[in-house]
Symmetry: none
Subunit: 238 residues, 2 copies
Amino acid sequence: MSIRIVLVETSHPGNIGAAARAMKNMGLTELVLVNPRYFPHPDATARASGADDLLDNARVTASLADAVADCVLVMGTSGRSRAIPWPSVSVRDAATRALSASRQGNVALVFGPEKNGLSNEDLDRCQLLVSIPTDPEFSSLNLGMAVQVAAYELRAQQSESLPAFESEAPPAAAAAIEHFHAELEALLLDVGFLDPDNPRHLMRRLRRLFARAAPDENEINILNGILNSVARDRRARS
Amino acid sequence: MSIRIVLVETSHPGNIGAAARAMKNMGLTELVLVNPRYFPHPDATARASGADDLLDNARVTASLADAVADCVLVMGTSGRSRAIPWPSVSVRDAATRALSASRQGNVALVFGPEKNGLSNEDLDRCQLLVSIPTDPEFSSLNLGMAVQVAAYELRAQQSESLPAFESEAPPAAAAAIEHFHAELEALLLDVGFLDPDNPRHLMRRLRRLFARAAPDENEINILNGILNSVARDRRARS
């Protein structure tokens, strides 16, 4: 069980290196890169200054879904405000949750591209949005710095005592939750509740609702079972 | 009264720029440079990316004593262990003390040269030594990153509680939630997912899940709308 750092579509390889050094300073080892613009790259190696092993072992994936498929908790950092508000925690609370959840399974902390941050589609893959406190007048944090702050919080809290996790079952993996949302969307289209020409954030609102509930493995199996039963019933009647 | 950042004999001007940006992100404005090797410098300006005003206003002094003469609290950061143990606090506790003391007078947080950190002579000017937690196997933090972590702690403690997730709509009334659960149960019986002879706490599990999500008025309307659409679709097919 580990806490991984996921960098999505990073433009500047120097930031990848700075992130690797920041991680290693704080005892984190698992770096995943989603579609990096340039990697490997000499700027990454230079800024890593000694954390080259993290770069050598970094996994490169084509999508955020691949990067977090086995994770029980996925949290995305964002400075932008969103069309619909997302469940959001401070980076300090995020570190507490990450350390607690990492006793159940893998955890991902996701950082978006330098310029615009995570897209809404990538944010949909995150159960929680992490916000780093900044001066609202000058709030754009360098990517490496953002990784440093998050990694520091994890390190600082590692020795502190943590509340026990109360669920009976392990938290659902991201892939199971994605499967549920895909099946739910298909059903809502079939029964005419979701209008593809006028989706009005419906699926995002539902994602947000279920993200707050944070279903465990049993619960996501129940939800998927319900969708299967409804689909089977529809087929039997057609 | 303010909290200033003092950089002593910085070798790489890029680190001065990174420190300025980190400060400005966290709402700090006062930068003092003791004998910088190169300053002003294009690398400093480039890395400051928008925090040029802090560089323009930076005071340059010939000694640490000059830089902190008017301060009521001076704290020095150091990764090195010292010949004589020095009174030492974590960066989190240092931020608490700095914020408290800044109501009485000026406070300085002092960062030494990249290579060796503060000299013992400069450390003598500090009342407290600040330590940033790191992995002992790889403990050398980049100077800009160290400033970022300290500035972040100051900011985080200043704005202690971030606004929690704020719903757009009022919470759903209990009657609306009951209606949803009744309709959901009816559907689960109809499609054969809920076996009345062996209910196995299914409805209770679902209640618990939705209770955690605490749906608001809009969300319960969406959930009820989904159940209505599925029911209508079933009727149309029978």
